[in-house]
């Protein structure tokens, strides 16, 4: 079981409030991602749940039991750190065994679980090596192995992939998702990378300056971002946001149109401009279009093999039902 509730949880460092009082419920078995730009308080929030930081006020419950004052060791949570935080003086086997040893588990059971974890994570050949002799991806697996053998109520991941190179990152992302569907244990995952958030999460919590901007499934956030910040943060490439006359035409202060919701038309169209940089990905092509009277170029997604060149004039028409409208406070207009 691993249902975690935060009630009016607030964190101050001295006088500065890094997390204003917030409420959040994480259901058992859910994969929740905290995402936001650096300094948004997502890691702090995770550390509050872990017990590595004290809440300044508010209540944390794990499976209904108050956990606010429990030390990290007693919360039954496991954590995977950004730096992996493996014990450099212990072999992989001892690293994985450490939490079980601390729990006083009997040796046979320890061995059984180590074997199971090592099999699942492809670590069997490395059990007698030390972390220093492993690659980044292998270390990451050891850190995960150390977390799963405890069979914790929930896993906490603190930007676990940010020290890996791009190719490994995609692989590990899949492995962690795989792990989640196999274990069906609650996972809380912190990242600044919205792609990780979108691909892995059941539920995404978007944070900015300690505030929860929106909570929802990846598609909910994609389809109905609650405000301009979420709209701009979720989705890749970024949503085109524009204000001024173009927005007023839709009765809004700001409107947003995703690159994939702009169609290239022969003539007319709402926007016209010159093609700037184009990024050919094979399956897709992204054009940056310089539209008159707009500071930022608009990003447009087109098919993979569209023959447009730098300097060409093009006309764009947004899909009418895919325009996001926001008021002057940046909130979504339904």
């Amino acid at each position: 079981m691993g249902r975690i509730t935060l009630e009016k949880v607030q964190k101050k460092f001295g006088e500065t409030e890094v997390i204003p009082p917030l409420d959040l419920t994480i259901e058992d078995g859910e994969f929740v991602v905290f995402v936001g730009p650096s300094g948004c308080g997502k890691s702090t929030l995770l550390r509050l749940i872990a017990g590595l930081e004290d809440v300044s006020s508010g209540e944390i419950r794990i499976d209904g039991q108050p956990a606010t004052d429990l030390p990290p060791a007693k919360r039954g949570l496991a954590m995977v750190f950004q730096s992996y935080a493996l014990y450099p003086h212990m072999t992989v086997r001892k690293n994985i065994a450490f939490p079980m040893k601390m729990a006083g588990m009997d040796q046979a059971e320890q061995d059984r679980r180590i074997k199971k974890a090592a099999d699942a994570l492809n670590l069997t050949d490395y059990l007698d090596r030390r972390p220093g002799q492993l690659s980044g991806g292998q270390r990451q697996r050891v850190a995960i192995g150390r977390a799963i053998v405890r069979e914790p109520a929930a896993f906490l991941f603190d930007e676990p992939l940010s020290n890996l190179d791009a190719a490994l990152r995609v692989g590990m992302r899949l492995e962690i998702s795989e792990l989640h569907s196999r274990l069906e244990t609650t996972m809380i995952y912190v990242t600044h990378d919205q792609v990780e958030a979108m691909t892995m999460a059941d539920k995404i919590v978007v944070l900015r300056a300690g505030n929860i901007e929106q909570v929802g499934s990846p598609l909910e956030l994609y389809r109905e971002p609650r405000n301009v910040f979420v709209a701009g943060f979720i989705g890749s490439p970024k949503m085109n946001l524009m204000s001024g006359p173009a927005a007023q035409a839709h009765g809004a202060h700001t409107i947003g149109i995703r690159p994939e919701h702009l169609d290239v038309v022969e003539s007319g169209g709402t926007f016209s401009g010159k093609v700037g940089v184009s990024e050919h990905l094979g399956s897709d092509t992204f054009f940056h279009v310089h539209v008159d009277a707009m500071e930022e170029p608009m990003t447009v997604r087109a098919g993979g093999e569209v023959g447009l060149r730098h300097g060409d004039m093009i006309h764009l028409e947004p899909q009418a039902d895919k325009i996001h409208r926001f008021d002057e406070k940046g909130l979504r207009i339904a």
């Binding site: 872990a50 017990g51 590595l52 030390p71 990290p72 060791a73 007693k74 949570l77 496991a78 954590m79 750190f81 950004q82 730096s83 935080a85 493996l86 014990y87 450099p88 003086h89 212990m90 450490f98 939490p99 601390m102 729990a103 150390r146 405890r150 906490l156």
Partner: protein, 276 residues
Amino acid sequence: MARAVSSRRKAINTAVAWAIGLLIFFPILWTILTSFKTEAQAIADPPIFLGFDWTLENYRIVQERSNYMRFLWNSVIIAGFSTILGVIIAVPAAWSMAFVPSRRTKDILLWMLSTKMLPAVGVLYPIYLICIELGVLDNRVALVVIIMLINLPIIVWMLYTYFREIPGEILEAARMDGASLRNEILYVLTPMAVPGIASTVLLNFILAWNEAFWTLNLTAVNAAPLTAFIASYSSPEGLFFAKLSAASTMAIAPILILGWFSQKQLVRGLTFGAVK
């Protein structure tokens, strides 16, 4: 700095450095050599460097006159236990300072160091009185405690600087893994800090071994370590160079040998962990 250097330049460097190195080491070398001479050869003019009749006579006489082993044993006990005791007290304190720093941490550390600046002589009589009162004058336990207190600030400081190099996340990982504070320190921090702790222990063992204020003033016979052993040669025996040299060699040999076998930790330790 790995820079290409001509072999001529390297040869000059080598020659100059060796000359200076030998000059600095010379008093020790000369003492060791003299300890194997006869008294007459020891004061011969011009001095004899190697062409003398090697003899162990001086060592025999020194051992006969004063029981070297007892002094040695006292030195080992005092330096050893004071260092161990100091480390046991300092590890938790250094853990606190390195991993749970607060606004006062630096002040406390500096205050600890400042107790080292208290002139020992200013409190000599009170300590002397307390020792008499407790009946521990000329007592090894008393010296162990006093020398430990003298070196404690240095031990705390050194451990603190070494602990600070250990990433806090690893200790947090241990906490998440269910380790109690005791286990966190015992199974994670201490093994990771072994090189630093070794350096600390070595350096403080040497400082304790060489401590020559309290050991001279608070001991007579029973607890007297090698510092007192050698001080008894100050006069008039000091005029017998060969015997003085033999006694000196016996007093410093254990440390020189220890130093030889643990160069790496010592060099690290000798910087008090203050410079990387």
